[in-house]
C-alpha cells in the first residue's frame, strides 16, 4: 500500500490548529515518510486537490467561501477530521449567534459589504465528519497519536474522560476545591490537563464530556460564589453550537 494521501485545510479560524500540526517539528520527516501530504495551502505553494484519503479541516463555517471549500474538499476525501475547537463546536467565533445582530453588525459587516454574515457553524452542520480532534488548540501529540492509529489501520480511540482524570494523574492540587471555576469535571480530556498543570483553570476548550453532571456542577459553582451569567458565559464559550440539551436546560 502506498502512502495515504492527506491534506490540511483551514476555514475561518486563527490557523493555530494547523500550527499545532507543524509544531511537531521533530516528527515532520517521519510524517512525510508515512503520509503523502498532497495539500497544505497554509505552508505549501503547490497543492494537489485531486483526491484524498484523509483531510484535516480547521476552522468553522462563517462565510460563503467556507461552505464552498468545505463541500468541495469533503467530496474529494474518504475521511474528514475536524481539527480543533472551531471546526468541532464553532468555538468563540460562533459566539455572535448568542447575541443580537445589532450588537455586532456595525463593527464589521456594515462596513465591509463583501463579507456576508453567514450563521457561524461547526463543520459537522454542513458535512459528514468522521473524527474530531478537539481543543483550542488541539494537543500536538494527540494529532500524532491519531495519525499513527490511522497509519496502523486501527479505529482511533478518543478520550472522553473528564479533564480531572489527567489532572489527577499529574498530581495537581485541585483548583476547583480552592474556589477557581475550573471546568475540568464537565470537559473532555486528552489534553494532559495542560492548563491546570500550568496553574490555570480549565476553560473547557475540548468541549463537553458526554457524562457531565451539569446540575451538580452549576450548583457547586454557585455555592462558591459565581453568578449565573458568569457560569453561562464560561460554559458556552467553547461548547459553542454543540451544547448538549442537558447543559442548555441547566443554563436556562
Amino acid at each position: 500500500m502506498g502512502r495515504l494521501r492527506i491534506g490540511f485545510y483551514g476555514l475561518t479560524g486563527c490557523a493555530g490548529c494547523q500550527l499545532s500540526v507543524i509544531f511537531n517539528e521533530d516528527e515532520l520527516l517521519d510524517i512525510i515518510k508515512l503520509f503523502d501530504i498532497r495539500a497544505f495551502p497554509f505552508i505549501k505553494a503547490s497543492n494537489d486537490e485531486e483526491r484524498f484519503d484523509l483531510v484535516f479541516m480547521e476552522g468553522l463555517v462563517a462565510s460563503p467561501h467556507d461552505i464552498e471549500t468545505l463541500t468541495r474538499i469533503r467530496a474529494k476525501t474518504k475521511t474528514l477530521v475536524a481539527l480543533g475547537a472551531c471546526a468541532h463546536s464553532g468555538c468563540i467565533p460562533a459566539y455572535r449567534s448568542f447575541t443580537l445582530k445589532e450588537n455586532y453588525e456595525h463593527l464589521l459587516y456594515s462596513k465591509a459589504k463583501d463579507i456576508a454574515d453567514v450563521e457561524p457553524e461547526p463543520i459537522s452542520k454542513h458535512v459528514k465528519v468522521d473524527y474530531v480532534l478537539p481543543g483550542c488548540p488541539p494537543d500536538k501529540k494527540e494529532i500524532l497519536h491519531f495519525m499513527k492509529e490511522i497509519a496502523l489501520g486501527k479505529t482511533p480511540k478518543f478520550n472522553h474522560n473528564p479533564v480531572c482524570v489527567e489532572c489527577r494523574l499529574n498530581g495537581n492540587d485541585c483548583l476547583l476545591i480552592h474556589g477557581k471555576p475550573c471546568m475540568g469535571p464537565i470537559t473532555s480530556g486528552g489534553c494532559h490537563a495542560v492548563c491546570v498543570t500550568g496553574g490555570f483553570e480549565c476553560w473547557g476548550c475540548r468541549g463537553p464530556t458526554g457524562d457531565a453532571n451539569y446540575k451538580a456542577y452549576i450548583a457547586l459553582l454557585k455555592k462558591k460564589g459565581y453568578k449565573k451569567e458568569f457560569i453561562k458565559t464560561r460554559m458556552m464559550m467553547f461548547a459553542g453550537k454543540i451544547q448538549p440539551e442537558e447543559m442548555k436546560a441547566c443554563l436556562q
Binding site: 516528527e27 517521519d30 510524517i31 515518510k33 508515512l34 500524532l144 497519536h145 495519525m147 499513527k148 497509519a151 496502523l152 478520550n159 472522553h160 474522560n161 473528564p162 480531572c164 482524570v165 489527577r168 494523574l169 499529574n170 498530581g171 492540587d173 485541585c174 476547583l176 476545591i177 475540568g184 469535571p185 464537565i186 458526554g210 457524562d211 457531565a212 453532571n213 446540575k215 451538580a216 456542577y217 457547586l220
Partner: protein, 318 residues
C-alpha cells in the same frame, strides 16, 4: 511486638538522619505531599497528607516494557532505600492492602521494585485528625516498621517489624513500657455506624449521593487503597513496530472504565458507578480477602469537589 522505647524529641532529627539519606515526610507545598526532607522541621504533621504515599509505589504512569520488532525488553530498577516518616495509621493499613494485592497476590514486579527497600515509620493520631476520619470503624491492624507516639517532649517508639526492632536496639533506646491495644486506635474515629452495608444496595439514598457526584475520579485517585489502572500501547512514528506499553491509573467512576467491544458500557448510570466504589471498598474486597479495603482516611470526602460524605449517607440509611 508491643514494646515501647523512648526517644527525646530533640534527638528525632539525628535518629532519622543516621538511618539514611532518603527520608520522606509530609511537607506543605501547594498541598501536603510526601517529599524528601533534610530535617524533620520541614515536615507538616498537623494534618493528614492530602496526597497519600501510594504513588511512590504504584506509580501514576509506569512503563511495563518496550517492544522493538517483536522483541520485548523490560527494565525494572529497584528504588533506593527510603524511609517514609509521618504515615498515619490509615495510610499504613492502605500500604498493607496494596502490598497484599501487588506483592502477595499478584507478584507485580513494578510495585515490588518500588516498595521493597522501603521502611514505614508511622506517626500516631491520638484522636481524629479531621471531622471526616473514620479509621476506628474499619478494623485496622498494626502495620509499621516503627510507630511514633508524640508525647511532646519525647516520643514513644513501637517497633512493628524485625528491622524496626533492630533500629531501635542499635540506637540503644530505653524501654518505656508496653503498648496497650486501646492506645492504638485514634479516639473519636468510629464514625461509620453500619459495619455491614451488603443489604443496603437497593437503598434510595444512594441516588442522593450520586446526584451530587461529578464522576471526576478525585476520590479514587486520592484513595490510598484504589489500585485500578488501564494499559496502553504507543508506537513510534518512525517505526510503527516499536513502542512501549504503559499502565496508568484509572477509575471505576468513569464510563470508559467498563466500556467493552461494541461500545457497551456496563455501569452507564452514575449511581451504579458511585455505588460500585463504595461497595468495592466496604463489601466486595472483604468478601474475597476478609478485610475492608477502605481504611477510613476520609480523603474521598475531603477531596471530593462536592464533599459527598458517604459515611453519613450510610448512617442515614434505614
Amino acid at each position: 511486638m508491643d514494646a515501647l522505647y523512648r526517644l527525646e524529641a530533640d534527638k528525632l532529627d539525628i535518629f532519622l538522619q543516621s538511618l539514611g539519606p532518603d527520608i520522606y515526610a509530609p511537607v506543605k507545598t501547594d498541598a501536603i505531599r510526601f517529599q524528601k526532607i533534610s530535617s524533620v522541621k520541614e515536615a507538616d504533621l498537623t494534618a493528614l497528607a492530602d496526597v497519600p504515599v501510594k504513588d511512590f509505589f504504584f506509580r501514576q504512569r509506569e512503563q511495563l516494557f518496550k517492544f522493538t520488532k517483536g522483541k520485548i525488553a523490560t527494565e525494572i530498577k529497584d528504588a533506593p532505600f527510603r524511609i517514609f516518616f509521618g504515615l498515619r495509621r490509615c495510610d499504613l493499613n492502605a500500604v498493607k492492602h496494596q502490598d497484599f494485592i501487588f506483592i502477595e497476590k499478584y507478584k507485580d514486579p513494578y510495585y515490588t521494585a518500588q516498595r521493597k527497600n522501603t521502611l514505614l515509620f508511622g506517626y500516631h493520631c491520638d484522636e481524629a485528625l479531621n471531622k471526616y476520619c473514620f479509621c476506628g470503624s474499619m478494623g485496622l491492624e498494626e502495620y509499621h516498621d516503627i510507630m511514633f507516639f508524640d508525647k511532646k517532649k519525647y516520643f514513644l517508639l513501637n517497633p512493628g517489624s524485625k528491622v524496626g526492632q533492630k533500629i531501635v536496639s542499635e540506637a540503644k533506646l530505653k524501654r518505656a513500657g508496653t503498648l496497650k491495644k486501646k492506645d492504638t486506635i485514634p479516639k473519636g474515629t468510629d464514625r461509620l455506624e453500619k459495619k455491614d452495608i451488603s443489604k443496603l444496595f437497593e437503598n434510595s439514598l444512594w441516588e442522593k449521593g450520586a446526584d451530587e457526584c461529578l464522576s471526576c475520579s478525585a476520590c479514587t485517585s486520592l484513595c490510598p487503597t484504589c489500585y485500578c489502572h488501564e494499559v496502553k500501547d504507543d508506537v513510534k512514528l518512525s517505526d510503527l513496530k516499536s513502542g512501549e506499553r504503559t499502565r496508568e491509573w484509572s477509575s471505576c467512576q468513569l464510563k470508559s472504565f467498563t466500556r467493552v467491544a461494541g461500545e457497551h458500557v456496563f455501569r452507564e448510570k452514575r449511581v451504579d458507578r458511585f455505588k460500585h466504589r463504595i461497595y468495592h471498598q466496604l463489601v466486595y474486597f472483604k468478601e474475597r480477602y476478609g478485610v475492608n479495603m477502605c481504611v477510613g482516611c476520609g480523603r474521598c470526602i475531603t477531596h471530593c469537589p462536592t464533599t459527598i460524605d458517604f459515611v453519613s449517607l450510610i448512617n442515614k440509611m434505614k
